[in-house]
């Protein structure tokens, strides 16, 4: 019992949610352990973002509970960090101030926040962009800044909702590699939503496959690929076997 508690950071228990008379989530169970990378794969409209809204406390479930380190966080905001497909950087703030946002929301001064966040720019490959405005950065760089902001808010539980969904294929590819590198040098537990099977297999320790609406978890797949992972693994037989299996489940 105790070992289970200390291992499970986030416990999503039997979540149900309907909008009007349309059931969207039909008893979803998910777990996230410390420093784990877990993906949620499901087709469009299956209720993935709805689930994230519930985990982040923005939305109340009709039934079920969200536990974080054993405590009930159902309907409570401010505990987990949430990153959207859009970078949602404030165009009027320099990158360093955008990244400082979570600290400022917690009541720190702009100056103190800047001092605290400046040290992480290097790790996130954003060195030299501190005093630029968002429009001066490429889409990929903006997503890096958004990810740093997300991580600074809550490094232990990060919800990433298709963070690379709006990037072109090449940039997306580079960002996935970049993300595995960054995550190997920082502490973070990540729950990722994606449509992209290859992205899920490449990045994850575990993958949950969601069914069509109303969504349940169809299957949980453990990805036993050694880390650190490089791009080369996507052509290995092991990798392709995972892909093939998941395609079978989704189609």
């Amino acid at each position: 019992m105790n070992t289970f508690r200390s291992n499970t950071l986030l416990d999503v228990k039997n979540i149900r949610k309907s909008f009007g008379d349309i059931p969207v989530l039909d008893g979803v169970n998910i777990e996230l352990r410390r420093n784990e990378f877990v993906s949620l794969l499901g087709v469009s409209g299956s209720g993935k973002s709805t689930l994230f809204n519930i985990i982040s406390g923005l939305l109340e479930p009709d039934e079920g509970k969200i536990f974080i380190e054993g405590a009930d966080y159902t309907g409570k905001t401010g505990r987990v960090s949430y990153m959207y497909q859009k970078d949602l950087l404030l165009p009027w703030k320099k990158i360093i101030d955008n990244v400082s946002l979570p600290l400022v929301v917690r009541g720190e001064s702009k100056k103190a926040a800047r001092e605290k966040v400046a040290g992480y720019f290097k790790t996130f490959g954003l060195e030299g962009f501190e005093y630029k405005y968002p429009f001066q950065l490429s889409g990929g760089m903006r997503q890096r800044a958004a990810l740093l902001r997300t991580w600074l808010f809550s490094r232990d539980i990060m919800l990433l909702d298709e963070p690379f969904g709006s990037l072109d294929a090449i940039t997306k590819f580079k960002m996935q590699e970049w993300l595995t590198n960054v995550l190997s040098s920082i502490e973070a537990s990540v729950l990722l939503i994606t449509h992209d099977i290859e992205e899920a297999v490449f990045l994850s320790d575990r993958i949950y496959i969601m069914s069509d609406r109303p969504a349940t978890i169809k299957e949980e797949i453990k990805i036993n690929l050694a880390r650190p992972r490089s791009r080369d693994i996507v052509t290995t037989g092991e990798f392709n076997a995972y892909k093939k299996h998941i395609y079978g489940l989704l189609l």
Partner: protein, 259 residues
């Protein structure tokens, strides 16, 4: 190549302006009757500088009314917009009324205002306020509403309260829209003051215009119009300067995409 096209674009309106005023000059000079009703550009400029000592004190009065009314309307619009954004019922109740009220011909109200508030500067300032208030208020409200709802959700997910969300996201996010409203108000402000002076009063450009019109001194009339245009453009420019100071990132972005 592109740069050349750019300078071309800037020169084009000037070229047209010169062509039109030359034509005007020609027409006014060739026919004496037309010349009396429509003084030539050269006459207007000469009169303008000759009359300057007379016009300027009137201009100061008008500018004073315009600036006071403009400033007061911005302050009031800001206060009301913030309140309406904070209280949804207030917004729902007032917004339709505000839109309808914009169709009221304010000029028709000017004589009443004079009756109610006397012949001093107060009724003029009130007219200017009425004219400037609505564009600023509506642009602010629309600005608040147009802020990306995902951005608001992101702030909420961070545990930010309503005040913090307003201060960090909504208010700065509405600046763009706000300034477009202020720019409209700026151009209205001088006009509003002049029009309210037409109705009655002892000083101001509007009063001066009525006086010279009654003595058939059309060149002086045009000299006054010239000053009205100059003052309106100055108000417009002032708004731009303030906007550039308030939104340095925007100017940078404009400059970048303009190249």
């Amino acid at each position: 190549m592109k740069k050349l096209a750019n300078t071309g674009n800037k020169l084009l309106p000037w070229a047209l302006f010169i062509v039109l005023t030359s034509f005007w000059q020609l027409v006014s000079e060739t026919d004496e009757f037309i010349g009396r009703l429509l003084p030539s550009p050269v006459d207007i400029i000469t009169t303008f500088f000759r009359e300057l000592p007379v016009i300027i004190p009137h201009g100061v009065v008008t500018l004073n009314e315009a600036l006071t009314g403009f400033g007061a309307s911005i302050v009031l619009a800001l206060l009301l917009a913030v309140m309406m954004d904070a209280f949804e019922p207030l917004y729902k109740a007032l917004y339709p009324l505000i839109l309808v009220s914009q169709t009221v011909p304010l000029i028709a109200l000017a004589p009443l205002f004079l009756l109610w508030f006397g012949f001093g500067q107060l009724p003029k300032i009130l007219i200017v306020m009425l004219m400037c208030f609505f564009p600023v208020l509506v642009s602010l409200l629309d600005g608040f509403k147009s802020v990306d709802s995902d951005l608001l959700n992101l702030m909420r997910s961070m545990g930010a309260g309503r005040v913090a969300i307003f201060r960090i996201v909504k208010f700065p996010g509405a600046m763009m829209s706000f300034f477009s409203g202020v720019r409209i108000a700026a151009t209205y402000s001088i006009m509003g003051a002049v029009i309210s002076e037409w109705v009655g009063g002892s000083r101001g450009l509007g009063v001066y215009m009525i006086k010279v019109k009654n003595s058939f001194a059309y060149d002086k009339m045009f000299a006054a119009i010239l000053l009205v245009v100059a003052l309106s453009m100055a108000m417009f420019k002032l708004t731009d300067v303030v906007q550039n100071m308030a939104m340095p990132w925007y100017r940078l972005q404009q400059r970048n995409t303009g190249e």
